[in-house]
Amino acid sequence: MKKIVVISGKGGTGKTIFTASLTDLIPGPIGIADCDVEAANLALLLEHVDVRSRPFSGLEKAGITQDLCVGCGLCKVNCRFDAIECQDGEYTVDPVHCEGCGVCVDICPEKAIVMGPMRDGTIYLSRTSKGLMSHAELCAGSGTSGLLVDQVKKEITGEMGDEKALIADGPPGIGCPTISAVSGMDAAVIVTEPSVSGLHDLERLVRMARGFDIRLFLVINKYDLEPGMSKKVEDYASKEKIPVIGCIPFDPAVVDAVRKGIPPTRQDSPASQAIRSAYDKLAEMMELV
């Protein structure tokens, strides 16, 4: 099985549109995962029916039993995350700041603090015409997005048998959730755009990805909006020996497809043709068919 993740560094470059198109073009059955758990949009482009859902709990968090607390304040003094609040002598844990380290539990002389599970999100498994898709919704403000990304990947791989490929939509950025999305994958398709921000973020993303044993491919979306910047992106890719598998033109048909809730490759347009050609190159280089 070939495991491919679509990432970008900069947000809004067209990851989800490219991922949905890949799942549309590749012969099924495949596994599909939306690893952008903070803004999961892949399901908006892929017709699906829900198979099951389950709650997700990341790290446990501390809670203070008021009956046992004597107000000594040791927990507050020793919490590195400023997660213990004290109002009118009553100590409570702020779950947003609590990182679940358990130092307060260990230090409390009255054993008044216990760790308990927190609801951090929901994981869904759905059926699409190409195969099963796992996706998730993170609870706002949760500090467990990287763990949830890992669970979303496990949710789908646990269901997969002789499928030829796992196609995953990744999150923006280069931090915890992206590292979790990239981990264990065979290849990453980076979707970028011809802008100073796109190039800057691409460089940081590649430096992060070099820490993994993963093949990299590049797609330049809306390449014709700024041909000069596209050239700089191509020069960078060539220096880094990252194959540029596609240059997709700016095309109102793409937004039209998003509004219809379908992958752009369902309609014929210049962008759709460019995505097909990028897919053909990826399929050949990754021996997908």
Binding site: G11, L44, E99, C101, G102, A140, S145, G175, I179, L225
Partner: protein, 284 residues
Amino acid sequence: MNIIVASGKGGTGKTLVAANLAYALSDQKEVLLVDCDVEEPNLHLFFPQGGYELPVTTPVPVFDADRCTGCGRCAEVCRYGAITVLKEPPPLFFEKLCHSCGGCEMSCPEGAIHEEERAIGKIRFSNPRDNIILISGILDEGEVMAPRVIAAAKSYAGGHPTTILDASPGIACPVVEAMQGADYCILVTESTPFGLHDLALAESVTRCLGIPSGVIINRFSEEDDQVTDFCRSKDLPVLMTIPFDREIARIQNTGGLISESMPAYREKFADLFSRVTSAGGFSR
């Protein structure tokens, strides 16, 4: 007045709004810009200027092999799986899994653990234009503790009367860290089902934190009125709409500022600020 620019969905134009708002205000007053998108900080690309940098560090345990008896207490208390006790001391330590809670040092019965600072990012300070100060939080590539770098960047901002913060996309802990303490949140979205879906998520974060907010719809299209309907249903003012325009895209893509090259936008952004300050209940 702390104004944070956030979005949920990436690439909607947060940095465009933060940079142009700061530029438009800079002929009236000094503005402090804080780049809290520490995974992919971009504000400096629109305000290129050398500056100076300070490291952001986090304490991590160092093990004294001579004192360590291999009892394994440190590995037991570590809830992040960052410590593995081997047959021979010292234990194996995975620094990227460590949250710097200090639990291992506190628990070691032999006093064999002390902490040393490890760099995870940096803060860059610059003064790129008259009346604009830029503080950028930069997470080192491969590091995961974004909220710590954001907190450090904000700590240097300390109470400046006109602070504009640029958040990262998403709705997780880095966004909450950036938003906390803000007087007003500008949510930037676009006229697509993606924009709408992610705006709803971002709005739930600002509501949770009790921060008054308003919306800017970028690449605005009359064809898609769902975002406007959503704003109406949530009582969110639409502060500004920006149409898709190849000239705006060109200026933004090449590191320019639309409020500098297109005077109408300088006025729009200055006006945006007065609307936001009155909405936030501030007279300044």
